[in-house]
């Protein structure tokens, strides 16, 4: 009987070693949150705002979308690595299998979107392929990972809502327009909003004043607006200042409320301290038990 047990143990060890050998594979790294940037491709700001965006998306739809970047596949194939990650992380709710994992391998320049079985209807392989080909790969190729990943995750979200259109040209066009002359204005405006918010939370008049000054200043420096328009802008700014002050009051009092100005993607972080609702990195995130079958798409960049 002892001998039998020995043999069994030996067999087990042989089996185990042979298994690990045939796999010869990269293990799935631990799940840190929605953004798992092991390759360090994103700026901290972008990572934080994407984390919040994905958290909000999950609150809204229960769909779980996560990002994983790795420095290298170390000889593994991205498809088999991806399914291993999917099996380990179990992204998506158990009864819905509504998880999506976007994986980037930096050294091999490989992209994969792994789609949970529950989302393959709205995000079929074709669409996943189009998102990679038209949205993510061009952005990565032009050396802008923040924008590429953000747009890619945005497209995945749009697709799950049935809103993704495979028209990469639109996205580029609007992007160009924004950055052409309005860049400085937007930065100044954001600064103005922050100042107004800080002033407004102490007193309403200070808020109105700060708003009334900062909007014309931003417009004057950023856009070179004509003098007579500045008066109108001052009035407008004052009104905005009042509104912001009132909002800040609400924020400080209630602590709730959706992140103000969330549409910009960037400025949400300024308000991180304001309410209780916007913290995201500290609420622990884990997969809900979603199932994957290898569906999705992969490509190079």
């Amino acid at each position: 009987m002892r001998f039998y047990a020995y043999k069994l143990l030996l067999l087990f060890i042989i089996l185990l070693t042979s298994l690990t050998q045939t796999a010869a594979a990269l293990e799935a790294p631990p799940l840190k949150g929605r953004i798992n940037d092991y390759a360090g491709m994103l700026s901290p700001t972008a990572a934080r705002s994407l984390e919040q965006k994905l958290a909000a998306f999950e609150r809204e739809t229960t769909n779980q979308v996560v990002l994983l970047t790795i420095p290298s596949l170390e000889g593994d194939v991205i498809e088999s690595f991806a399914i291993r990650v999917a099996d380990a992380w179990k992204i998506g709710q158990k009864d819905k299998s509504n998880g999506v994992i976007l994986i980037l391998a930096k050294k091999e320049r490989k992209i994969r979107i792994e789609v949970g079985t529950g989302l393959q209807g709205v995000l079929p392989d074709i669409t996943a392929g189009q998102i990679i080909r038209n949205v993510i790969a061009p952005g990565l190729r032009s050396g802008n990972p923040d924008q590429a990943v953000s747009a890619g995750l945005g497209a995945i979200i749009d697709a799950t809502k049935g809103e993704f259109k495979a028209t990469p040209t639109d996205k580029k066009a609007t992007r160009k327009k924004k950055s052409s002359g309005y860049g400085l204005f937007i930065v100044l405006l954001l600064a103005g909003i922050v100042i107004t918010a800080v002033a407004g939370s102490s007193s309403r008049t200070a808020g109105v004043l700060a708003g009334g000054v900062s909007l014309p200043v931003a417009a004057g420096i950023g856009l070179g607006a004509v003098l007579w328009k500045l008066g109108i802008l001052a009035l407008l700014g004052g009104a905005a200042g009042l509104l912001i002050s009132l909002l800040m009051r609400l924020f400080n009092a209630g602590g709730g409320g959706g992140g103000y100005g969330g549409g910009w993607g960037g400025p949400t972080i300024f308000y991180g301290g304001g309410g209780g609702g916007s913290s995201s990195s500290d609420d622990s995130f884990s997969g809900g038990g979603g199932d994957f079958d290898g569906g999705g798409s992969s490509d190079d960049w």
């Binding site: 069994l8 399914i83 079929p124 392989d125 074709i126 996943a128 392929g129 079958d293 290898g294 569906g295």
Partner: protein
């Protein structure tokens, strides 16, 4: 009194059954059957894609009649196979299944090499989409096969280890299931780069 003792006997029997692996083995066999279902449906998915693919390629690559014919024939051969649950209990049937699907795989990969010569075809949106679907399907097949093999391993282990082995030989008579073997060229399934 008699009824109570019958109930007691039943209870004892049930607890014995759970202790001797009866239920475990049944559950493991069900897992194998479910995994096989996924294997079959992912292969079926590929079969369903092929007519469209052939149609699109035909429009651009008229000179590749032989390659296209090989794909169509291999598909027909796969389609003519009588598939049932019994395949997983019959090593010979599984080998045949794997062989036929393997032939289709290699016919498809030859087709995908041939289309490299036709830039118009490669620019065709319809073709690109079909190609993405085919890639996704091949990947699903790989995943389904791997999971099937894992479930088979669990099942085979459970019927051979003690005390399950005794229960099996006396009551269940379940047979060892055959896993997929890695085939040469299996790694070279259509993986086309543009």
């Amino acid at each position: 009194m008699k009824r109570i003792s019958m109930h007691l006997l039943g209870l004892v029997l049930i607890s014995m059954l759970s202790g001797c692996g009866y239920n475990t083995m049944q559950a493991n066999e069900e897992a194998v059957i479910a995994a096989w279902g996924n294997v079959e449906s992912s292969y079926q998915r590929r079969n369903d894609l092929i007519p469209n693919l052939v149609e699109v390629v035909k429009g651009y690559a008229k000179h590749e009649a032989d390659t296209l014919k090989a794909v169509t024939e291999a598909r027909a051969k796969v389609g003519s196979m009588q598939l049932s649950k019994e395949v997983i209990n019959d090593p010979a049937a599984l080998t045949k299944f794997q062989q036929n699907q393997g032939e289709l795989s290699s016919a498809l990969s030859r087709l995908m090499v041939v289309v490299e010569k036709y830039p118009d075809l490669k620019a065709n949106q319809n073709f690109l989409d079909l190609q993405k679907q085919l890639e996704g399907t091949e990947n699903r097949i790989n995943v389904a096969r791997e999971r099937y093999n894992k479930s088979v391993q669990v099942f085979n282990t459970s019927i051979r280890t003690f005390p399950n082995s005794m229960t099996n030989s006396m009551l269940l008579h379940l047979k060892r299931k055959e896993p997929f073997k890695a085939e040469e060229g299996a790694k070279a399934v259509p993986k086309v780069k543009f």
